[in-house]
């Protein structure tokens, strides 16, 4: 009985040991497995000891094999430097492209914002018909804050720029004015001192300021004694109370200073003075839907309470992150990611083909090795190692390329409250590593398995690897390449056409040769209209005297640099339907403005120097304004109420694209600069100077600076750009995207062409005896060509058909960024199909010529 048990225990133990041996590489196991069992039996070791022994030796055994395989792979690859170089380059481009695109996409779409519990931060908006997101008025903000039950904390912020005079020359700083609790909402502690708190925004509290890290370093040299220093902001002293840490940016990367709001009671009077950005943190466990419902109820209550002011006013709540990324931008990035993936797939397919061809060419070598005892598994391992070495080299080079390409791609990144720019950091490197591994498997495993399954009797003299199944796989891979190239070509074409269409949109003004810069006059220093008028007149007359200058003028805000600044319109004698959007953009201008931007005056007259503050209030309106309110009649002399006052129309100009080339803009209303009364609408005091000159307008800059400095030494200049640059910036993301996708398409095109070339060369090679026989029997060149080209043209046709179908689907998916180009745009599709056939012919050319030159005698003799 004991012996029986002993035997059974022995058998069980043996079974366990055999199972453990599976941890060793199978070649090692098949070689020494039996002996190791014999040793185990003889030694009567315990299972624990055996397990320990196996676990510590098996990895080493795998490593032994890997080392061997690596050495072998390096030798083999070095023997074919051309193939190796091309393979690594192709891989590098594929992996690099995806890594760079992932870096940007991760930064913009995936990563969470750098605030504690960033997933609970939301933005609040008022809505009106035609306006999905409008700022809050202080009165509504106060009521929402008081009445809600869903927010842990709620604050508000608004941005504008101030002139800072402290250390050094006056500087224009982008500032954010915040409610006392905003920093609590965000939850980021300051680096030095304290941040703004509720005690600071009480009426009458001493004015404080918090610096950004960047400003602290730049303007104060990182001096730790900056706390308590006094800063002159627009003529008002503020005390520095804190400095924020380097990664803190809110609401955007340009903001460098935070000061508290002061809300006198009068600020709450006008419910329609909308300028606050609401930010809040959801209570734990409260969903966005619940918050939206709650705020909507509050908005409805307020509408009932104030039916006149808040008619049709609604509310919106969005996650902070989603708010920054428009759907357009999201689609743009996703399109890029899709294109990069296509390139990688094509690269993998290409490489798989190359490796298959190589494996077939190495049949003899592999057969010899099989005969010498290398198992099938071993050979597969070896080929797999080769692919992984290629993939690794390609991956490393790819990451390098991605690092170089990143600056170009960052132009696609909207301004987010995230520090810095996307970079190649650990997350991205991790992604690249996984991608590399998958790629290596992707293109290596199929050839390896195919070879393993080959009947390794290829040692027979003169045996040639057959077409048959292998040709089928290779053809399928080429078909995939062609299809994906067609998709990329068409997508690139559609986006290019969209870009060209947007570029060709007439902005309504002429942008060449115009220099723009910002000289925002600080209040209360320039509260008095007379004071401002003196400044503008002096600067403009001196600038107009400069050589080369044809026109100059001032405007509240440049088109495209500022899209908002809109006011509701009330047309004399008409009851306007409040559910429609009746707003226009408000701008104060000097008389030289229209001439400088070459905005055509269509009817009536320009604003002039005689339109002074004590004269009747006049306005020049854009054509769409006149057409809307006085269709078919002359608008001259008509009255309308706008920005508190009644005004009469004296002129009509052409419309301009205030909000950018792609968006719809409200009609425009231009008011004479002298008719902005003391202290009124200070936000709208003209701050952008425009100068039209012959030649390069930038050359005027030093003279302009001098003129402004002499007019007011404390006045800083900011944001110097040409008008052409501003228009370019409007479509910059689109431009970058088109360039990148076009580059991808070109790469794909090249790879697919190479693939076809490779496949066809192979076909010609394997069928050379057949071709020779045909030639010997009198076949004409065109018959030979037909044989050779048949397959490739068939593949091309199939690829185009599949590619067109997929491209149409892709086009539908990105329709909203196609700027009106239809996803089925015939010209683009035809062009892509044409290019595809061209590529096929180009790739087939060399092999076809080779086929024609086959010498029947030599070919048959070789048999």
């Amino acid at each position: 009985m004991g012996a029986c048990l002993g035997i059974r225990a022995g058998e069980g133990l043996m079974w366990f040991y055999r199972a453990l041996l599976h941890l060793y590489p199978s070649s090692f196991r098949s070689e020494y497995g039996e002996e190791m069992c014999a040793v185990f039996e003889s030694r009567h070791s315990s299972l624990l000891a055996a397990a320990f022994e196996v676990l510590s030796n098996a990895p080493a055994a795998h490593w032994d094999i890997l080392r061997q395989d690596l050495r072998y792979a390096a030798r083999t690859l070095a023997r074919a430097p051309g193939f190796t170089a091309v393979a690594i380059l192709v891989l590098a481009l594929g992996i690099g492209a995806n890594t760079a695109v992932f870096s940007v996409t991760d930064y913009v779409l995936i990563r969470s914002l750098p605030f504690p519990s960033a997933d609970r931060l939301v933005r609040l908006w008022e809505t009106l018909p035609g306006y999905r997101e409008m700022e809050l008025s202080p009165a509504n903000y106060r009521d929402w804050k008081r009445m809600n039950t869903v927010f842990e904390e709620m604050g508000a912020i608004t941005t504008f720029a101030v002139n800072m005079i402290g250390e050094g020359p006056p500087e224009r700083i982008n500032t954010a004015v915040v409610t006392g609790n905003l920093f609590t909402v965000l939850g980021v502690p300051p680096l030095l001192g304290r941040s703004i708190s509720s005690s600071d925004d009480r009426d009458g509290a001493p004015l404080t300021a918090v610096l950004s890290y960047g400003l602290w370093q730049r303007a104060f040299g990182g001096d730790a004694g900056v706390l308590g220093r006094k800063l002159d902001l627009n003529g008002t002293p503020h005390v520095v109370i804190g400095v924020m840490p380097p990664q803190f940016h809110f609401p955007d990367q340009e903001t460098e200073l935070w000061t508290p709001f002061e809300f006198p009671e009068s600020a709450y009077e006008d419910r329609n003075n909308n300028y606050l950005d609401g930010v809040a943190r959801l209570r734990r466990g409260v969903s966005l839907e619940q918050a939206r419902a709650d705020i909507n109820v509050i908005a409805a209550q307020l509408r009932r309470q104030y039916p006149k002011e808040l008619e049709h006013a609604g509310a919106a709540v969005n996650f902070l992150r989603d708010d920054e990324i428009t759907d357009q931008r999201r689609l743009l990035l996703l399109a890029l990611a899709g294109a990069a993936l296509c390139v990688l797939l094509i690269a993998c397919s290409n490489l798989a083909n190359l490796l298959l061809a190589r494996a077939l060419a190495r049949q003899k070598e592999l057969a010899v090795r099989a005969a010498l005892g290398a198992g099938r598994e071993r050979l597969i391992r070896q080929l797999g190692t080769e692919s992984m070495v290629l993939a690794l080299a390609g991956g490393l080079l790819g990451v390098l390329l991605a690092g170089l390409a990143l600056p170009l791609l960052t132009k696609l990144v909207p301004s987010l409250p995230i520090s810095g720019m996307p970079s190649i950091d650990f997350r991205v490197l991790g992604f690249a590593a996984i991608l590399t591994a998958l790629t290596g498997i992707g293109f290596g495993v199929v050839p390896a398995l195919r070879v393993g399954r080959t009947d390794l009797t290829g040692l027979r003299e003169g045996s040639r690897s057959g077409g048959g199944r292998k040709a089928g796989l290779r053809s399928a891979l080429i078909l995939a390449e062609v299809t994906l190239s067609v998709v990329l070509l068409i997508s690139a074409g559609l986006l290019l056409r969209a870009l060209l269409r947007v570029q060709s949109v007439d902005p309504g003004f002429r942008s060449e040769g115009v220099l723009t810069l910002e000289t925002a006059l600080p209040m209360p220093k320039y509260d008095a209209t007379a004071r401002r008028t003196a400044f503008y007149r002096r600067v403009l007359s001196e600038i107009q005297a400069l050589p080369g200058v044809s026109d100059a003028g001032y405007i509240s805000f440049l088109p495209m640099a500022m899209g908002g600044g809109i006011w509701p319109v009330d047309v004399d004698g008409k009851t306007l339907d409040r559910s429609e959007n009746h707003s226009a953009s408000l701008r104060y201008i000097t008389p030289g403005f229209f001439a400088t931007l070459k905005i055509p005056l269509q009817v009536g007259r320009n604003v002039s120097e005689t339109d002074a503050g004590d004269r009747p209030m006049v306005a020049v309106v854009s054509e769409s304004f006149a057409r809307r309110y006085w269709p078919g009649q002359s608008p001259l002399g008509r009255h309308f109420k706008f920005a508190f006052l009644d005004r009469s129309v004296v002129g009509v100009v052409g419309d301009i694209h205030v909000r950018g080339l792609e968006r719809n803009s409200e009609p425009q209303v231009y008011l004479p600069y002298q008719q902005q009364h003391d202290g009124d609408l200070v936000f709208y005091s003209p701050k952008h100077l425009v100068i039209r000159a012959s030649g390069n307008p930038r050359l005027l800059l030093p003279a302009v600076r001098r003129i402004i400095q002499q007019a007011d030494p404390e006045q800083p200049i900011a944001d110097v750009r040409t008008l052409a640059e501003i228009v370019q910036a409007d479509i910059a993301p689109r431009t970058v995207q088109v360039r990148v996708i076009a580059a991808f398409a070109a790469l794909a095109f090249l790879l697919a062409g190479l693939g076809i070339h490779g496949l066809l060369s192979f076909t010609v090679c394997t069928r050379s005896s057949e071709i020779a026989v045909r030639i010997a029997l009198g076949a004409q060149p065109r018959n030979i060509l037909r044989i050779v080209l048949q397959d490739s043209l068939l593949l091309a046709t199939a690829g185009v058909i599949l590619g067109v179908a997929l491209a149409y689907a892709a086009g539908r998916a990105m329709q909203s960024i196609l700027a009106g180009i239809t996803p089925g745009d015939a010209a683009t599709f035809l062009a892509a199909a044409g290019l595809c056939f061209l590529m096929t012919l180009a790739g087939s050319l060399a092999p076809a010529l080779r086929a024609l030159r086959v010498d029947p005698i030599t070919a048959i003799r070789a048999e």
Binding site: Y24, F28, E31, Y32, E34, E35, M36, C37, A38, V39, F40, S42, R43, E53, V54, S56, N57, A58, A60, A61, D64
Partner: protein, 120 residues
């Protein structure tokens, strides 16, 4: 056309397991378990090769040409058909000698500095 094969010095320094295995098969052909036992006996139990270490080393030594598998087997009643027997090659012997010489030099230098007992 001959390819110059690496001399014994190219294998130095030898891993400890390799050296012990060479010593175990220096005088007679042995199978795996016998090698383990021989090494244990020689080192007085200080070095017990595990099966994994043994066969990994043997695999490498076969590739390097330090040992070969031999087809001569003992009488069937003493044999186990799962066993394989290994024999040292002339190259293996030369390598073992070279290693021993190397270690002797080390000991000599160590003795001169007083690190090892005995006279230099």
């Amino acid at each position: 056309m001959t390819q110059k094969s690496p001399g014994p010095e190219a294998f130095l320094p030898l891993p400890a397991a390799t050296f012990h295995i060479l010593m175990a098969v220096a005088e007679e052909d042995r199978h795996g378990y016998a090698i383990i036992q021989d090494v244990a006996a020689r080192t007085g139990g200080e070095l017990t090769l595990s099966a994994g270490t043994l066969y990994r080393s043997i695999q490498r030594m076969l590739e390097q040409g330090l040992v070969v598998e031999t087809q001569e087997r003992p009488a069937p009643e003493l044999d186990d058909e799962r066993r394989r027997y290994y024999r040292i090659t002339p190259l293996g012997a030369a390598v073992a000698k070279a290693e021993a010489t190397r270690m002797a030099k080390l000991v000599k230098w160590a003795r001169a500095l007083g690190f090892a007992p005995g006279k230099a």
